[in-house]
């Protein structure tokens, strides 16, 4: 009797309303879709892209993927609770615009580099973390849908960034701050080391801590989690705050790498990259299921698609179109896996 009980709980088989991918694609997508896609990309580049297998190319790719992964980790946690954070790109821009205002300031103690530089790193991250907390507050206390709640800062945040830097690209020259994006201890880019550390912490946290379990329980079934004693509001506040903190860090890295605060381009479409990385990696957009390592894989794939297009002189416009299509395809495969 234990096994027959399952039959009626099965969701209604969709009839003609829903398009189903071809079986081979679905099967491949279900098991190792992401890995296969990555291998194909690498294979294609190894054959057709000059110098692809050089150490410098790898480093460029790692460089670029680091910000996506760092933001993607926060996004994965938010999505795991059943939410979404559209504000990450704007938060990156805010952090990047605020930092030079601090280390370039003549005001009092900030003039001294050993005060100015740490503060230029800590304060922007704290600010974006606080703005993330604000997102979480809207979602928990006011019960506003995450899409709308974070849409406020998605646009308003970029306005803040532009206002901070007076709407212009602000170049700076500050080697100590730029170390964050250009430093190479032991030949490895600083942001890659940061990424690796954050990945390890996040993966361990999801697996082994109470907080990790609470995140999945909240996203899996919120009323049930609450009745089992899970502090769901605090969990959500925490993930949005973490997402904000990580977006701030990524924004600083971005600014340091190009030695400029660019309120227009910093973190532009980062929310899409991060969501796509999570989705490609196998995190369910409906919440309750998440994988940090999958997000790394997803971010690498997106970066590889972009790299492949750019290194073959495809225009910026077309690159965007292709990435958009790739994101849709990835989410589509992910959806089929859920069924």
């Amino acid at each position: 009797m234990a096994n027959v009980g399952q039959t009626e709980a099965r969701p209604a088989r969709p009839a003609a309303d829903r398009v189903v991918l071809p079986r081979w694609l679905r099967a491949a997508g279900q098991t190792h879709g992401a890995v296969i896609a990555l291998l194909l990309l690498v294979l294609f580049n190894a054959i057709f892209t000059t110098n692809y297998l050089a150490w410098s190319t790898l480093r460029v790719n790692l460089d670029q993927v680091a910000t996506i992964v760092i933001v993607g980790i926060g996004m994965t946690l938010v999505i795991a609770t059943g939410g979404i954070d559209l504000s990450v790109g704007a938060l990156m821009a805010i952090a990047g615009s605020l930092a030079p205002l601090i280390f370039d300031s003549d005001w009092g103690p900030l003039d001294r580099p050993w005060v100015g530089i740490p503060l230029a790193i800590v304060l922007p991250i704290l600010l974006t973390g606080f703005l993330g907390l604000f997102n979480g507050f809207l979602v928990t206390y006011f019960r506003i849908q995450p899409i709308i709640a974070t849409l406020v800062l998605y646009l308003g945040g970029r306005g803040i960034a532009k206002a901070l830097s007076d709407g212009i690209l602000l170049d700076f020259n500050n080697p100590s701050f730029e170390y964050l994006g250009k430093g190479r201890p032991l030949g490895i880019p600083v942001q890659v080391i940061l990424m690796a550390i954050l990945l390890l912490i996040a993966a361990w946290m999801m697996r082994s801590t109470v907080f990790g379990r609470y995140i999945l329980a909240t996203g899996g079934n919120e009323p049930a989690a609450r009745l089992a004693g899970v502090p769901v509001s605090r969990v959500k506040l925490a993930v949005y705050a973490i997402s904000g903190l990580l977006a701030g860090l990524a924004g600083l890295i971005w600014a340091a790498r190009i030695s400029a605060a660019d309120p227009y381009r910093a973190g532009e479409f980062m929310e899409l990259d991060a969501i796509a990385a999570a989705a490609v990696g196998g995190t369910a957009l409906t919440g309750g299921r998440a994988t940090i390592i999958g997000t790394l894989l997803g971010a690498v794939i997106i970066q590889q698609v972009r790299f492949t297009l750019i290194s073959h002189n495809v225009s910026d416009g077309t690159t965007r179109i292709v990435i958009a299509a790739a994101i849709i395809l990835a989410v589509l495969i992910q959806r089929q896996r859920e069924q």
Binding site: D17, R18, V19, I84, L86, L138, F142, R143, I144, Q145, I147, I148, A149, L151, V152, L153, Y154, L155, G156, G157, R158, G159, I160, K162, A163, D166, G167, F269, E271, L272, I275, A279, L285, S315, D316, G317, T318, T319, R320, I321, I323, A324, A325, I327, I328, V331, L332, R335
Partner: protein, 337 residues
């Protein structure tokens, strides 16, 4: 709607509930009137001049059109984040086509917008991907398309063509864009209240499973709604190109937010199933009036306000509106449970 919340009828009555209800249903209209009267009082003749009022209306037509499309999308429980990018794409397309004459350029812009909308609708309705993901991706793609179509720079319109008349013609006293937009809202209202399509939009947003079991053409309705939103964004793009004499690939950034704010301030539920076309119009006018008066205030030298703060203000406005809506709907549902 769960059985439990629906099982008890509201009993608590009184002026508080009445006031909350009035605020929820007509809050935007009350605010509109109040802010208008404030303008009359503070800025006098300049504000009430025909020139200012017609300009105000005309400059909000492109917001009005995308907000109209967004109203239908939101009533199905979805969202269309791509409209701003579609405006940029179609503005560039209209500028490119302007040499072929007014009709070709407008039809091209609407057709292109319709195309993006159809893609949105197909992906959402047929493949069941969340609307925000789909339209976020088409936002990216439409911006990419706009860059390609414009070779990464603004495209000027052909000044020998009659395309610029789209913005400058008057029908009697009334600017043509205002006539077009008013007509669009009229049609939208008829479609919502007096056609099966409109009723199906509300039924799908209210309870999709029930709509499915009733045999409503869900996929077709959803595709139509996103196509409508895309087409209206296309028309909006054509108006924008005619206004500025150029099509810019970076136009329309953040317009989706303005449209959503206008829809929500009118009382349309973000969760779908309930809403009205006319309250969206009120929402658009309310936002337009606020920025009009901010301009007057800037003219008076009360404060310096860079345009960047406008984005912040729009964001804050949306924030205020959704917070209010969340409070009011919660009060309403609290009184029925």
């Amino acid at each position: 709607m769960t059985a439990r919340t629906a099982s008890q009828e509201p009993t608590t009555s009184g002026w508080q509930q009445w006031a909350a209800g009035l605020l929820r249903q007509q809050g935007a209209l009350i605010a509109l009137i109040a802010i208008f009267l404030f303008g009359v009082w503070r800025y006098g003749e300049n504000f009430t001049s025909e020139f200012n009022l017609w300009t105000l209306l005309r400059n909000n037509t492109y917001f009005g059109l995308i907000a109209l499309g967004m109203t239908f999308v939101i009533m199905t429980g979805g969202i269309d984040l791509s409209v701003g990018a579609v405006v940029a794409l179609t503005a560039v397309a209209a500028a490119r086509l302007s040499g072929e004459g007014l009709w070709v350029a407008v039809a091209g812009a609407i057709g292109l917008g319709l195309g993006v909308g159809l893609i949105n609708g197909a992906l959402i309705a047929r493949f069941r991907i969340q609307p925000f993901i789909v339209t976020l991706a088409t936002l990216l793609a439409a911006r990419g398309g706009a860059l390609n179509l414009s070779n990464n720079a603004s495209v000027s319109i052909d000044f020998n063509s009659n395309f610029k008349d789209l913005w400058r013609t008057n029908v009697g006293e009334v600017p043509l864009p205002v006539v077009i937009t008013a007509f669009a809202f009229l049609l939208g209202s008829i479609a919502l209240n007096l056609t099966r399509f409109g009723r199906h939009v509300l039924a799908i947003g209210g309870n999709e499973e029930a709509a499915r079991l009733a045999g409503l053409p869900i996929a077709r309705t959803l595709v139509a709604v996103y196509a409508l939103s895309g087409a209206l964004a296309g028309l909006s793009g054509a108006l924008l190109a005619a206004q500025g004499n150029t099509g810019s690939p970076i136009a329309g950034i953040g317009w989706e937010l303005t449209a959503i704010a206008a829809v929500v301030v009118g009382g349309t539920l973000l969760t779908g199933g309930r809403g009205s076309v006319w309250t969206t119009l009120v929402g658009v006018l309310l936002l337009g009036l606020i920025f009009n008066e901010l301009n007057f205030e800037r003219g008076k030298g009360t404060f310096e306000l860079t345009q960047y703060w406008e984005e912040v203000i729009r964001g804050a406005f949306l924030l205020l509106v959704v917070i209010l809506q969340s409070r009011l709907t919660r009060r309403a549902s609290a009184s029925t449970t």
